[in-house]
Symmetry: C2
Subunit: 383 residues, 2 copies
Amino acid sequence: DEERSSDQVCTDPYASDPPRHPALQINSQKPFNAEPPLELLGESYITPNPLFFTRNHLPVPTIDPATYHLQVEGPPGGQTLSLSLDDLRRFPKHQVTVTLQCAGNRRSEMAQVKSVKGLNWGAGAISTAQWGGARLRDVLIQAGHSPSGSEAHVCFEGLDSDPTGTAYGASIPLARAMDPEGDVLLAYEMNGQPLPPDHGFPLRVVVPGVVGARQVKWLGKVSISPEESPSHWQRRDYKGFCPSVDWDKVDFDSAPAIQELPVQSVITEPREGQTIEPGEVTVKGYAWSGGGRAIIRVDVSLDGGLTWQEAKLEGEAQAPRRAWAWRLWQLTAPVPTDWKELNIICKAVDDGYNVQPDTVAPIWNLRGVLTNSWHRVHVQVAP
Amino acid sequence: DEERSSDQVCTDPYASDPPRHPALQINSQKPFNAEPPLELLGESYITPNPLFFTRNHLPVPTIDPATYHLQVEGPPGGQTLSLSLDDLRRFPKHQVTVTLQCAGNRRSEMAQVKSVKGLNWGAGAISTAQWGGARLRDVLIQAGHSPSGSEAHVCFEGLDSDPTGTAYGASIPLARAMDPEGDVLLAYEMNGQPLPPDHGFPLRVVVPGVVGARQVKWLGKVSISPEESPSHWQRRDYKGFCPSVDWDKVDFDSAPAIQELPVQSVITEPREGQTIEPGEVTVKGYAWSGGGRAIIRVDVSLDGGLTWQEAKLEGEAQAPRRAWAWRLWQLTAPVPTDWKELNIICKAVDDGYNVQPDTVAPIWNLRGVLTNSWHRVHVQVAP
Ligand SMILES: [Mo]
Ligand SMILES: [Mo]
């Protein structure tokens, strides 16, 4: 009918998306996906809210905080809690500094091996903030769930949805949610401010040590299930496969959903293709690992991996088992006078002594996720 | 005096070491260090006791089980528990299947890059047994320690000692010992038998997911300390460093003691240099990761890493967070008729999506520990 077709023509579901910082490098406008330039990202331990990488799967929903309620399903036979923002603020407030990384961070490097399906992220799909909110554990216990749960999953549904009404969804193991040292939050603050619209206003999940895709924004509903979330993004996306597996033969049920991410590091300065001054070079970057594993060392090579030097880790040593945030690092080293170019590489080691693989081709996968091979930057030395 | 000098000449501290299985490949006779041949190791999920790799730092002590007592220090101001074997058997008995790996497993591959200090282990310094005993947690609580401990360490002392009386020692974080899901044992059984003399009779520590060096055998004493064990092996050994660090500039305090080990896999069949029949090849091996991380995939290449196939994991899927034992795996694949040789490689992925590095030189370290690069076997194809 006429009214309906007029709706289809005139209504842009992204029309109420918020304004964004002009420095962001946009990978997709609708839905909005963007990353900060590396030179800004590597500048500060805490990423300013306007520069925090944004990974939206759907339009940003407009939510009235005055009427917002989170639905938390109780155990079988129990009741559903309906919590306003004021109700959530009455739980003990926890503040945790956590690095979030998209599974697709550095996908553009993997795509150079062989094409992959996904947004063409550079190395900036990672950022760090101090998040404030209620512990998910506390809210689940309030809803009647036992803290010593079985092998169940906590399922999250966002209030963002596609034209058919399907909401974004994901899940994490209940054991992680209930771990008193797991620091899983229902966050209403990001760096001391209410969550910005692009980052889940008024409430999102923050799951330290875990891939961004599980940290559902604009959170509408929480429930416990013996199975993982049935959502596309939990079951048919965000999984890793053998390089031989392509779209003609992929079996998504054969691989586990990504939760913890492997050890990662990236050079944020100098930039690829730059010409540096002779004499000495300063190399800067970030390093992070999933599962609360601390970064214990970053090795840097200026000669394509023949020799290595240890970078200086900035900031404080990280708490064991709860190293949720990245370490920034730097190395200043002399450049031999006869070198015309540098092939700079970084690689990090976490406290399980996990290391990054040398090259990207052997970890290639059809969705282009989990790129954590050595990061390489080639620069010229000015004469 | 005469008696003393006669002692020095005539008394071999290794004289009472036990007999060993003739199939073991001996890296050092005194102290005894030996590994099973890979073709036997890859044969069974549970390693038979006589074939379990043996890593002794000192002579095997002779201990009378009838008079043996374990000393467990209480908290400050508390008493020391002195527990006989019967006392230990009165705690609830736990049985856990755990793979133990020496930090030096595969050191011989690292030594080919540049010489390292340590026993020349092949890829057999790893084995799997079902261990039975009391939970360390239960014993510590009995001794008066709080299960919700601070950032302290559990220190272990062996009853093996050097001529100056210094005992083998090591420590683990108290949080791991107290974790009800950590499964740390004071084990008196190995595959249903009393511990053999080479494996710690009558009592040893078993710390699932952690390097062998912390799993103190012939256990004499347990204590809690705000600091790690002061032993040489905790403070001045069993740590990883940047490849640029050699003995002239190593600072052992700069690196954390190895606890959890990174993801590992090895080809046990065919063997290096073997000639295989044409037609098809069966590749077998083991894969394991530290920290209870499960093996989710093993990729095998027959062409030096250009293409990969997924191996079949044997046995059952592993419990999340408590995947303490290895997975054996195999792949049977056709060999193209015009191939005269195979460059076989394996690499494993754990459930944190950690992977093995491509090559060994960039993870070289002066003690030759933590070799977990891709395992490679070169074979000829019979005409
Ligand atoms: Mo993501
Ligand atoms: Mo070891």
